[in-house]
Every structure is written in C-alpha cells, then in structure tokens.
Amino acid sequence: MDGRVGLRASRRAAPTPRVAVRSSPRHRARVREQEPVVSAMSGSGLGKENKAGSSTPLRHRPNAFSELDNATPRVMLRKIIQNQPQVSPLALQTVQLEETEDARPEPPSQRTSSTVELQLPDLVPEDASVTTFRMTRKRKKLSISEFERAADKRLPQNQAHSTLDSTLVRSLRMSVGSVMAPDTVEKRGLLRRPQNHKAIDIAAFEGGVEQNMLQIKAQDYLVDLQTSSMTGTTTIRTDAEVVLNNTELFVEPQLGEQNLLAVEPQLSDSKTSAQRSNTSYPAHEKARLEGLVSRVSTDERRTLRFSEKDLITDHEHVDGITQKTPAKQGEEEQDHSQQNDPMEQFSESEEMAGTTEHHADAEYSEHSEKKLSRKAVSQLTAAQDAGVEMEMTPSEGGVAEGTEHQDSPKAELQMAGSPGGHSPASYSLEKPGAKPLKEAVEQTGEIERGTITGVLDAAEEEATDDESDKEDHESEEISMKTPMFVHAAAYRPQPVLSPPHPVKSASPELPPQPVRAKPVPKSSGAAQRKTREPEIASSLIKQIFSHYVKTPVTRDAYKIVEKCSERYFKQISSDLEAYSQHAGRKTVEMADVELLMRRQGLVTDKMPLHVLVERHLPLEYRKLLIPIAVSGNKVIPCK
C-alpha cells in the first residue's frame, strides 16, 4: 500500500508513467537487486522479478524495460560521462583514452587519489601535451577492450558506482559494440576522421570516356540508319545487332571506316553506271539500289562488309590479282560470278545459311542476293556491250551475305574479337562459305577473265577520264567517303522493299530513284550527320498533353500521342493543300487555316478564332495574330 501510495505520489510529479515507475523506490530496489544479472536480461530478470513479490505481468514489463533502459547506450553513456573526469572537448582528450605509452603510466599513478585530485593530475598531462594534437590516424579504431581498461582504471575511484560500471562495461562488451563509435567520437572531440582520397586514374577515366563516345557514335550510326529505313523504329531486332552494338572499343572505329570503304565502291559504282550507261537496265539498277538499301539496313551489314573485304582478299589469293583495288576486284569477282551458276550457288549457300534465328535476315539477304546476282548478269552484259565499268561489289556483297549468314554468329563474334586481323581470321571462316563461291567463280571465270580484264582496263581508263569527282574517288579507296555517304543518304529515306520476286517488281521501282537521288545528296553530303526526320519534340508533346489531361499518363500512351500527332500533321497538310488549291493559290493563308479549324469544329459562330487564340497561345504570339490598336495611330501587328 505504501508503495502504491508512493507510486501515486511520484506519479503526480512524474511526467510519464515510465518515469514514475522508474523513480519509485520499490523499482529502484529491484533494479539494484538485479544489477548483477542485467546482462542476462530477459529470462533471469523476469525470474528475479517474480521472486521480488507480487509480480503481475504488468509489473514485469516495466521492470524489464527499466532494466533494458539501464542498459541503453544513452544511459550507459550518461553514466560513463558522469564517471569520467571533466575534460575539455579538445583533441587532448584522446590522450586519456588512447592506449599510448604516455597515457598509461599516468593514470595508474593517480589511481589511488580521489576523484577530485585525479582531475587535476589528469589535466596536467593534458597541458603538457597541449602542443601535440593527436592525429586520429594513429588510433583509428579504439577496441572495446582498450576502452574497458581505461574505464576500469577510473572505476575504482567511484566506489558507489563500481558495480554499475562493471555491469555497464560488460553490457558494453556484450551488446552495444557500436556504442563505441559515438563515444570515441565524443572523446576525440572535434577531430575529423582521416579522409582517404583515392587518386583518380586518369588514363582509365579517359579510356572509359572514349569507349562511351565511340559506343554512342556507333550506336547513333546504327540507330540512324535504322530509323531512316524503318521509319523511326530503333529497337534492336536481332541478337546480331545486340552483339554489334556491344562490340569492343577498338572494333567500332574500324567498323565505321570499313563501312565507308565498303559501301563506297558499291554506291559509287551505282552512280557511275547510272550516269554513264544510257542503256542501263533500270530494273537491275533499282534492284541493286534496293539491295544496297536492304543491306544498309540489315543488322549484319557490318559483318557483310567485313566478309566482303575478306572475300576480296580471298579472291586476291585465289585469282592471284594483286594490283587492283577492292573495287576492281569486286568487279572481277562479279564478272566471274555471272550467270545462273552463281545464282544457284548463292541460293544453295542461302539455303545452307537459313537458320531459324536468322531466317528473316536470310530471306532478306536471299532477295538481295538474287537481285545482286541478276544485277551482276545484266551488268556484265551491259559492260560487255557498252564497255561500261560494272563494279560488282553489290553482288559480291550478296555472296558475302550468303556466306556470311552461314557463319553469321561466329563471324560476328570473331569480327568483334579480332578487328585488326580480318583477313586471316575470317579467311578461315569464309573458307567453307567461300568454297561454293570460289567454285562458281572458277567455273565460269576462266573464259571471262580475258574479256573482263579488258573491260576493267577500259573501266579504269574511263574512271580516270570521268568528269565527276565521285568516279575519280572510285578508283581510290581513300576518298570514297563523300560519295559513299551521298549515296547512302540517297537510299536512307527510301522505304526498304523486299519483294518476293525482285525480277517482277524491279521495273516499276526505278523511276522514283533517279529523281530522289539528286536532291538528297546535298543535305547529307557535306557533313556526315544523320538526317533526322522533322518531328515535334516529344518533350513538348508530353508537356502539352499532360497539361491538358491533368492525370498521370503512362509512357506508352505518350508514344501513341506522338504517333497521332504525326498523323494529324499529315492530315492537315493535305487539307490545307486542298483549301489553298481550291482558292487558286499556292500558298496557305490565314483564311485557309481558319477554314480548317472551322471544319474541325473548333471555330464556331459562338467561338470565334480570336478567343481561341487568346486562350491557348502565349502572349507574344497572340500579339502577332490579333491586331491590337495602340496609341499614335499604330496597330500591332502592323498591316
């Protein structure tokens, strides 16, 4: 009863029940009893509580908690601080705690003295060592045992709290290892932890930057060609592309270069033939161009080019022709691979190549190969007829495609792996694939070599005599870049067609080609920049749409909105054209656009145009559209 009364009394004074319980004398007695086993805590503590008296479950908990509370870092720290002598929060404090030879001899000597006396002698050594600011580097981590020892040295001074301290120390050891950190921090005072400055490896950093740049370049190139041919789809379609995209640093620049070099002869050839041969077969040329386009847009074009070059070198070895440039060699090979035999060979190799994975690509290459082989045929005849230089790198490329597809996975990996040693590496690869080619070449080549070399010589002469710079470039490997990109650009905007029978569809496709070939070169010829299709910035569309819709929108929904916007612009451009034509004009006027909006139902008798302008356009544009009268006989916009 007394206890309870006391409890109540204390409760009145105490702010919380917890504090009240803690402050109750009964509780205090209990705590003192259970100090020795505070470390054991829960089980034994509760048992002791039971022994103590009427132990309701309610009482258990506060006591247990109080025990626990005593063992909290906070309480322990408080006790430690109380026990520790008062010292200034300077770095000198570390002197006391550190297990230094200096510190050790001092405390033992002062152990016997009282607390008060201790403080002074403690301060003395501090003063003596004022000058030395202990660098924390020397003592990075204070072990608990060290701290205990130091603490133990001071414990005997405070007899009253000795047991408590020991229990504290023990609990420190047991439970709260991390308490050391704040405590040591406190002891260290305001010293900072030593900073580890890692020296940046500049070389590695720059290497990494270069890698990034090249990867971005390569990806952009890849992406750009794809987008232009596939109307904006930039997804990685095949594993081959993924592999290509992730090739090593040193592969990519070579890839880029070889792309240029490889494509140049083809494109320049096509241009020459277009320019020269009046009797050029439109179908075949178009087919060839298509093939080029398809090749440009296929994923394996890099490997194709590689293999092309390799085949060129292969055939060098095979045919023993060393003086000619790859372009010429390509001609030769194509001339060799003339009629149906090579085509059959190609189809054979195609069939061999057609794996399920690369099925689509194989078909693609099949088509292009067929086209190219037919081109080879037609071109050869044309060359023989008109003595026109027909460079057959496309068909060679087609062959390369066929052979490449066989070994495409291996080839790609090898290409990625060994950019430098192309010829030897891929030569071995190409061997199985090159065999049919070689057969075809050798079978048909013997007779034609004589004529073809004659043709080639004539072509070489023609090349030198040719007016256009691009044709001069043909004979040189080095400066092929401009014509290559000129032609590449010419083919980029064109949609990629892969008709099942190139023969039939070849004829109608030519007419648009020469028309388009001319205006496009100037846009991309100057700089090797990707020609991006003009689109409204997707960020602007997102901003406007989300502003109007006022609710969250998924990313895919934004894509759809973008597509809708494109279609909308297509619609209105034809509408505006119709309106202006109806009015007998060639320019779209404000009235036309207003009529469009009226037909759309945006402008009505109730909703005039100016109101819409006021509502939706920013001020600067409003001023341009709506004439406002200002003083001084001035009207904006001035009419």
Binding site: P534, Y548, T551, Q600, G601
Partner: protein, 76 residues
C-alpha cells in the same frame, strides 16, 4: 510555363508532307493552335475513357480509342 512554339519544326514537317506547299507569314502559329486544340481534345477524350475504365492513369488503350475518334473529327 510553356516553351516557345516550334515554328521551324512545324514548317519542316509540313514541307516534308507537301513539299510544294508554301506557308504565309503567321500561318504556322495558327497551325500550332489547331495542334494544341487537337491535343486538348485528345486529352479530354482519353481522360474520359480512363474514367470509364475506373482507372486513374491514362493507359495506351484509352489513348488509342480516343485517337480514333478525334482524328476522325479533325478531318477537314
């Protein structure tokens, strides 16, 4: 706030679709206005669709359905 109107881009887009067509002085601003109103309508329609589906987020299917309606409405 809103950024500036992409006048150059608008002209390029129309040029891409109709190369022979010319645009008068501030017509591209009106074209942009019509585009804004188109997006406005599209947004409203998509929002309505989403509400009907008891969804608080605009999903692609809502947008597609809205686009069909609004594109048809926006024909001249």
């Amino acid at each position: 706030g809103r950024r500036t109107v992409p006048r150059g881009t608008l002209r390029k887009i129309i040029k891409k679709h109709k190369p022979h067509l010319r645009l008068a002085a501030n017509t591209d601003l009106l074209v942009h206005l019509s585009f804004l109103l188109f997006l406005h309508r599209l947004a409203e329609e998509a929002r309505t669709n989403a509400f009907e589906n008891k969804s608080k987020i605009i999903k692609p299917e809502h947008t597609i359905a809205a686009a069909k309606v609004i594109l048809k409405k926006s024909r001249g």
